[in-house]
């Protein structure tokens, strides 16, 4: 039952609908249904928020430590250093996104160019 198991035009659509749209969308709908019934300040909500934040952070960590494509060949230290420097710049600039992007990208591109020379 893999993505390429059935050679028909509707199978890829069904696969993406079930494993993608429904698997993703049902949690949004649940969020609406629970909506205002839950106390936003409760301990349980604080726990759920912390788990959600940890999960998204894990996505970020994996993107940096295990990149795919063009970044796969770059040194881990360069990627970590570029991200860390950009984050410090973002904090120093009063939580301005543009500072993180400019510093991170400058270090990353300069580092890749320096290695290739």
């Amino acid at each position: 039952m893999s993505f390429h198991a059935i050679d028909a035009w509707w199978w890829s659509w069904l696969y993406i609908t079930v494993a993608g749209v429904i698997a993703n969308g049902m949690w949004r709908a649940l969020g609406v249904v629970i909506g205002d019934r839950l106390d936003e300040e409760s301990e349980f909500m604080a726990l759920v928020r912390a788990v959600a934040t940890g999960l998204v952070a894990a996505v970020i960590g994996n993107l940096v430590v295990f990149p795919v494509g063009a970044l796969a060949g770059t040194p881990l230290a360069l990627r970590l250093g570029a991200l860390a420097a950009g984050f410090v710049a973002y904090l120093l600039a009063g939580k301005r996104m543009i500072a993180a992007i400019l510093v991170t990208e400058t270090i990353l591109v300069a580092g890749i160019l320096a290695i290739q020379l």
Partner: protein, 188 residues
């Protein structure tokens, strides 16, 4: 897919499952685990956006296009918008993000083969940079920052040993660690 599933991690997980030849059930489970986080995000944000006359259908529509970017914008700025106008304002934010992304995704898809690897790499690295900064901005207290740091470290560590179970495990470990840390601080 951008038009239907408005969540980058879910799309990344789905594509990884397709590429690894996973069955439709395994892919469903993996995407489900990556999407659970949306429930608390929706629960936390919608009360802020709701006006006295906002319909349920509007809420479902808004919920389907909440992602890290629009969530951060909503949590940050909704309070400065009059309550009656918030739903319309947020739908405008979402429509702008979705529309701009469809254009960018199409353009990058067409151009990426011709781009030099350096440009591809620089573009790809925008993602973690932006996510990290925006997630930090949206945090309400220091326990969210602790959860962020914990997930950032635990995620790749778990991934190195168990690539399939990294996100749920790292999310739980990171989130629980932060929660325990918060409790410990409160008792002191």
């Amino acid at each position: 897919m951008t038009a239907f599933i408005w969540a980058l991690p879910a799309m990344v997980v789905l594509i990884a499952q397709i590429a690894s030849g996973a069955s439709i059930f395994a892919a469903f489970l993996a995407v489900t685990l990556s999407s659970v986080r949306l429930t608390p995000m929706v629960v936390a944000l919608l009360p802020e956006l709701k006006g006295p006359r906002t319909r349920k259908a509007t809420l479902f529509l808004m919920a389907n296009f909440i992602a890290v970017t629009s969530w951060v914008i909503g949590m940050e700025r909704a309070r400065s918008i009059p309550r009656d106008a918030r739903a319309a304002w947020f739908l405008g934010v979402e429509a702008t993000l979705v529309g701009a992304n469809l254009i960018v995704v199409t353009a990058v898809y067409l151009a990426s083969a011709g781009l030099p690897p350096l440009a591809n790499g620089a573009l790809a690295f925008l993602m973690p940079t932006y996510f990290l900064a925006s997630l930090w901005t949206s945090a309400r207290d220091s326990s969210a920052h602790a959860a962020l740091v914990a997930g950032l470290i635990v995620g790749p560590l778990v991934h190195a040993f168990a690539p399939q179970g990294d996100l749920p495990v790292a999310g739980l470990a990171g989130g629980l660690a932060a929660f325990v840390w918060r409790k410990a601080r409160a008792w002191r």
